[in-house]
Point group: C2
Chain length 411, copies 2
């Protein structure tokens, strides 16, 4: 249920579209042992993010992931663990083109009735997780009209031709050239024919699908400038950039649950203002009953304010997150804010009980942190505490650090 946030955005596609996702790379350029597509961010492999990007698009019928034979089991585990739908896995070939070709052919295998074959095939990279529906729509539509379409980006560096001795021969005029990126789209007939007609040498050394469509089908691909987020995770530094984008996406908003008491509601208002200055938007609700239950399906961060030292409210929230299956794709953050000096007792919470609760939550992929705040009658002091609470909450939500779960911090 947590995954069904289809973003239809008013776009309509009246032809059948499927995706081929080559994921056979060995990742030698990152300098890591794990191929990039299987590197984890917040406990989840990159390729799962890329698959999710396509699952969010209602008009995409199926995704064929092509992986090296030795990674078939790993890939099946990922699909099961993160509950991916509409995905098939097929074994790759010895080169990128052979792998893509296997994926394309799998879409039209012998038994497939013509009316079930895709009319347009989108080819993408497993290591470009941030593709959005709007751009996929542009590529699919142009491919249907022109036979082929591809993403391009401006060149970041000047491109130069080198002599065989390693000297400058000439530099290219930057304005006439573009970097060819992914996704690309083809009508099923064009991409199938291109692979049926191309040579062993193309299979072995070719890099550009658009080139095969031109050479073997006479199809001039339409080129469409894509956003910078289409970039390919290639080097180790790209892993950090991808993680930062994923964390930022998860950290923009939080749902603050007051429980309804007057001191908690007042604190919530002040926290919302302070968080706003830190570029985090807080939605304040008394509880998650009725329509507010929707937050359990869409929000990744929860702040539960309690005026009591009892943990029952935060326990109820954890149970509701579990019932909503919320932690399948990302670890949600829950911050329990204990406001003392305002309620029944000013005694602090029991650290070991909170620690145990956080340890149990961690096993279900929920990150639980605690924050103590003492209600002060000194206005200036109170304002400082609230600002600090907002800063700490924002740092915890942005950091999503498993090492800090179960801590009771002081604002």
């Amino acid at each position: 249920a947590g995954k069904s946030n289809h973003n239809t955005g008013g776009r309509y596609v009246d032809f059948r579209v499927s995706v081929v996702l080559p994921a056979g790379g060995t990742g030698e350029r990152t300098g890591l042992l794990t191929p990039k597509q299987f590197c984890s961010f917040l406990g989840r492999p990159l390729i799962s993010y890329t698959i999710q990007a396509f699952e969010r698009v209602s008009w995409i019928r199926s995704v064929v992931v092509v992986v090296a034979k030795e990674n078939m089991d790993l890939m099946m585990d990922i699909i099961q663990r993160f509950q991916h739908q509409r995905v098939r896995v097929v074994p790759g070939g010895s080169t990128r083109h052979r792998s893509i070709c296997n994926g394309v052919m799998a879409l039209g295998e012998g038994e497939t009735p013509a009316a079930d074959r895709p009319e347009v095939v989108i080819i993408h990279d497993a290591v470009r997780p941030f593709v959005d529906e709007d751009f996929l729509h542009k590529i699919a539509t142009a491919a249907k009209e022109q036979g082929a379409a591809g993403a391009i980006r401006p060149l970041v560096s000047t491109v130069i031709a080198t002599t065989s001795e390693g000297y400058l021969d000439h530099s290219l005029e930057r304005v006439k050239y573009r970097a060819s990126e992914m996704p690309q789209g083809f009508t099923y007939d064009v991409i199938r024919q291109a692979y049926q007609r191309c040579t062993e040498s193309d299979f072995e050394f070719g890099t550009e699908c658009l080139h095969l469509a031109l050479q073997y089908c006479g199809t001039n691909a339409k080129l469409i400038e894509g956003p910078p987020t289409l970039w390919k995770v290639t080097y180790k530094r790209d892993l950090a950039a991808a993680e930062s984008i994923i964390k930022e996406t998860l950290s923009r908003t939080a749902c603050l649950i007051t429980g309804g008491s007057a001191p908690a509601v007042a604190l919530a208002g002040a926290l919302r203002k302070a968080a706003g200055a830190l570029e985090m938007e807080l939605d304040v609700v008394p509880d998650l009953a009725g329509d507010n239950g929707g937050y359990l399906l869409k929000e990744w961060n929860f702040i539960q304010v309690s005026v009591s030292r009892r943990l029952s409210e935060v326990e109820a929230l954890l149970a509701a997150l579990e019932a909503a299956n919320r932690a399948v794709l990302h670890p949600p953050v829950v911050i329990w804010v204990h406001l003392s000096g305002a309620g029944e007792s000013s005694a602090g919470p029991e650290p070991s009980a909170f620690w145990d609760l956080a340890s149990r939550a961690r096993l279900r992929n929920v990150l639980l942190y605690g924050l103590r705040l003492h209600q002060s009658k000194d206005a200036e002091r109170w304002e400082r505490s609230v600002l600090r609470a907002a800063e700490i909450a924002s740092a915890l939500i942005q950091g999503r650090s498993p090492a800090l779960v179960g801590q009771l911090l002081q604002a």
Copy 2:
């Protein structure tokens, strides 16, 4: 004193080398208001990191930074605040080439005796902070020999030529082309002549200094493949990647000070082992007297173990860091580990006193965190606590979060 870690590495340069650092860019591609070179990482602007990369190299005599007129004051402030040496600031022109030309000409102004002019000029980008001495040496040496030399990298994407209607014309054979990167090096005579002879159109639309050297001086530049870290901070995602590299560089090691007591020494050994599994190397010392004082000049992370609840040891460490002027370039992290149940009293530290100390340290750019650990006779429980302490320390050191200073965490 904290900056004088010259990395001579046995390299010898017997000619005069200066650097021109164009930093006039407006940074529109990051989508941020601040130009990239002035974006801050751990409280310090990117350009200061780049300047530091050159200051570390003993054989580089001077750095000329070229900035837009409106940023001259800002740049002078940065040089003063981060105590940069051997740096001059000159105003930029309306294009990149005009700015570089201003920088080159500033190196040989009328009054400069010929014997003080550089023989080789290295041109670099302010937004490529991770250049190392080894590669600078290669560029300078090749420039001295060949007249011109430049860094290249393999192309990440296929480069394609587009028709005027936005269709694929042809794709380039990747193996014959390279991306031209920075740094580049020239003999002073070649780069000065190239700028004296080139046209207004070159100044206005040209992008490649190597091209000017070829066209106006007949100098074929030697091309040298550089490491991936030469990449240019261009997009918003690159800011996250740069921050992650800076944090990783600062987080590989820590100095653990035991104070000499037997329980602290035992804890230190266990923490060192646990940290090793988290890829952090701990150097254990009893105190910072004698030769161990060297850590104050080179280490960015300190863990002070105390068996007493008194803060005198951590106060002495903070004073020593201040005396060593350690916090000029980066905020050092200090983690005070209070080991209870082993010493004179098992009472915990006073949270408000620790908070006040951390607040004062923060004003001097030191990040102070607290960690409580209770000595347990249960071996399994003790092992878990030590592991957790290592995880928390590692997370604090890697995160370097100002929002969490002054917290007393529990391991």
